[in-house]
């Protein structure tokens, strides 16, 4: 449907927010948050992406089916990444080594337990 154009103010606000988020993600990268560095960076990038998609690409005003198409794209990308990672990250879980000459090495207790392998 020919949607009425957004107000100029909306574009400027979105533009400034994007610049601010870029600065934020760069600054946060200089702090050592350990594992959370990646999580924070991805969250900020996702926020910027959503801003561009919703306002610059007018997804807010388009038909529901177009919104559904966009959502499907993100969902399928997540499918590909998550299921592939589910293989890589869990490779060492079940195959546990066993002593060659089976002497009780110091921590044989967790010999058969599940451990965070490579």
């Amino acid at each position: 449907m020919t949607h009425q154009p957004l107000r100029l103010r909306t574009y400027v606000v979105v533009f400034v927010t994007l610049l601010a988020l870029t600065g934020l993600t760069t600054l946060l990268a200089y702090l050592d948050l350990g594992r959370f560095n990646l999580v924070v960076a991805l969250l900020i990038a996702a926020a910027k992406g959503f801003l561009v998609v919703l306002f610059f690409m007018h997804l807010v005003q388009t038909a529901h089916r177009t919104q559904f198409v966009a959502a499907a794209g993100i969902f399928w990308l997540a499918l590909l990444v998550v299921l592939t990672l589910s293989d890589v990250l869990t490779r060492g879980w079940f195959e546990q080594p066993h002593g060659w000459s089976a002497i009780e090495s110091n921590d044989s207790a967790d010999q058969s337990g599940i451990r965070a392998g490579r």
Binding site: M1, T2, P5, L6, L8, Y11, V14, F15, L18, L19, T22, T25, T26, A29, Y30, L31, D32, N37, L38, A41, L42, I44, A45, K48, G49, V52, V53, F55, F56, M57, T62, A63, R65, T66, V69, A70, A72, G73, I74, W76, L77, L80, V81, T84, L85, V88, L89, R118
Partner: protein, 215 residues
């Protein structure tokens, strides 16, 4: 996709149906692009999970300041493209041309900075396949990271070049007055494509440049 002569192509009932079809087609095409880049992101995710230290070391080889400038340049070009689409929809073709040319300039700047980075890497002899002579602990995995760096940013730069060509065509068509409303759908579609390329870079910047800046 621009029907130069008749406003509505013969297979459509009306203008509304044609615009709906064009935007839906573009969004579906962008989903195929998401999955296309998705393959590279999956590879990146796997190898970053398998070799965290090597990816951190590799990321330190990338120039963060140039990456940050590029991100700002591309977000600004996205802003000017959005203004261009808005102006074209309102029929103000002069303003649309100005914004489109601004977008072209910013896009060219981005590519300039990008090839500057490539040149630096070539001088430091860390271009995989050509002259990769980096030695040190886990050199192989760092080469893998740099290979993903070139793969992802190279594919992105290729999409930028295609975008620049299409925007140039839009400028010419607008100047000739062929894209006055209600025939301004092609500009809106070019805008969608341009914003998509910007979003890809928004994700590339933290993943490639900001992996391990704090050490």
């Amino acid at each position: 996709m621009s029907e130069a002569h008749a406003a509505v192509a013969h297979q459509f009932e009306g203008l509304e149906q044609q615009r709906d079809a064009a935007t839906l087609a573009m969004w579906i095409f962008l989903v195929t692009e998401v999955m296309f880049f998705g393959g590279l992101f999956t590879g990146y995710a796997i190898y970053r999970a398998s070799y965290p230290e090597a990816f951190a070391a590799g990321s330190r080889l990338c120039e963060v300041n140039l990456g940050a400038i590029n991100t700002v340049v591309l977000i600004t070009s996205s802003f000017t493209m959005a203004l261009a689409v808005r102006a074209a929809a309102a029929g103000r073709s002069r303003a649309a041309i100005v914004c489109l040319v601004l977008t072209l300039g910013l896009g060219a700047t981005f590519l300039g900075i990008k090839f500057l980075e490539y040149a630096h890497k070539y001088e430091e002899h860390i271009v995989p396949g050509l002259n990769f002579t980096y030695s040190g602990p886990s050199a192989r995995q760092i080469e893998l990271f740099i290979c993903f760096y070139f793969g992802m940013t190279g594919l992105h730069a290729l999409h930028m070049i295609i975008g620049l060509v299409v925007v140039t065509v839009m400028v010419i068509f607008t100047a000739r007055g062929r894209l006055a409303p209600p025939k301004d759908t092609p500009i809106e579609i070019t805008g969608l494509y341009w914003h998509f390329v910007d979003i890809v870079w928004i994700f590339l910047f933290p993943l490639l440049y900001l992996v391990d800046v704090h050490r």
